[in-house]
Amino acid sequence: MSLLTDIAAALERGEDERVGELVRVALAQSVSPPAILNDGLIAGMGAVGERFRQREIFLPDVLLAARAMYAGLEVIQPRLAGAGVPAAGRVVIGTVHGDLHDIGKNLVGILLKGAGFEVVDLGSDVPAERFVDAAAEHGAAVIGLSALLTTTMPVMKDVVGLVRERGLGGRVKVIVGGAPVSEAWAREIGADAYGYDAANAVERVRALVGARG
């Protein structure tokens, strides 16, 4: 449908006002909210993600597209709740206790939302228990942990341990990331995945929840 294609194209160009306007038009024309979300907004972000992976565009372009995605979501969110449209999954994210760096975590959150996930962002300096409490409370499928200091990375191991202790290991997966973090560290602490950058983190989360995408 050309209107949905127009939404996706405007999103790719980062035209947030145009995306909001087109979503309103689509709703007025009785296009279903799930179709607007999946075939307009998420399709557009998917194309952006692929162009980013191919290095045709760069982080600022992705973030401008994300802003356009937000603009569309603001219009459509109430109608999605009413239609009972499930998200791709629910993810709890945060920067671990002792660490205040949050840009990496913020970028992951933005891209996860762009991929159709619900994100519970706990902020920074988050104790291990709070991650696990939030995952249980919100029924999250994934906990995403960010650390930018080697001295705070051990909190990630604490989270993995708590997930197991509370019997959530089968239901809640843990993904880790941040400049000093590595695939080897993720394996060492028993995390389920490692994301080497924000875009990769989204791919790994998709794989963890088996989301279509």
Partner: protein, 230 residues
């Protein structure tokens, strides 16, 4: 010698290319007009909000050895192990671009303006790194035969816990920079370390230490090449 230094925001604004590099643009690639516009806006915000300042304190070799030893968590061998004993002069430093920029970045993310937020973050990070380079150039002065480079805890085998003794020695709380229990500096856009002054050759090392394999882009190579020609 212990000295407080302050710069006007305009003096400390980073090079455009460095901010773009931090946003993932390949070196030498001209940005699109809209990325250029984001950068222009971020630089304008930087000029409004930045409060760049530093504290520098000269230190003798033996006293630096004590600081550098830190909590005993450095890598078994590091480039600085070989570099600093050859130094003519050493000075500890802490520099920051100030707290208002960090707040502004957070505000922009909170207002769902991720592109301007991330660009301002890149500008602030590039500016903070640039302060260390400005301090190094200042420390070297006009002597063509010597070069000063900055080395920082958390890099090249110098464990980040080394911040504790550095802070205890230099007391940068005086310029509003503090250290938390995880050795995180606040304001976030702050840098610290040691300035090492000597003939250019003392700064050359081969990046074949075990930790070099974990380093994403080895910025040491470009910095050292620019400073000492190799």
């Amino acid at each position: 010698m212990r000295e407080r230094i302050a710069w006007a925001a305009a003096e400390s604004a980073p090079a455009r290319a460095e901010a773009l590099r931090l946003q993932g643009l390949p070196s030498g690639q001209a940005p699109s007009s809209r990325i250029g516009a984001l950068l222009d806006a971020a630089l304008a915000e930087y000029l409004q909000a930045a409060e760049p300042r530093a504290l520098v304190g000269e230190i003798g070799r033996e006293d630096f050895a004590e600081v550098y030893g830190g909590e005993g968590r450095n890598a078994p061998a590091t480039p600085l192990d070989a570099v600093y004993p050859k130094a003519e002069r050493l000075a500890l430093f802490v520099a920051t671009v100030g707290e208002p920029l960090t707040r502004r970045i957070r505000d922009l993310f909170g207002q769902h303006h991720p592109a301007p937020a991330a660009m301002l973050d890149a500008v602030a990070s590039a500016a903070a790194d640039g302060l260390a380079e400005r301090l190094a150039a200042r420390f070297a002065g006009d002597d063509d035969g010597t070069r000063a480079l900055a080395y920082s805890p958390g890099y090249c085998g110098w464990h980040v816990s080394g911040q504790r003794r550095l802070f205890a020695r230099l007391r940068p709380e005086e310029i509003g920079v503090t250290l938390n229990a995880s050795f995180l500096m606040q304001p976030l856009k702050s840098v610290s370390g040691v300035l090492v002054l000597g003939p250019g050759r003392i700064h050359r090392f081969a990046p074949d230490y075990p930790f070099c394999g974990e380093c994403a882009d080895r910025p040491c190579r470009a910095r050292i090449a620019a400073a000492v020609g190799g």
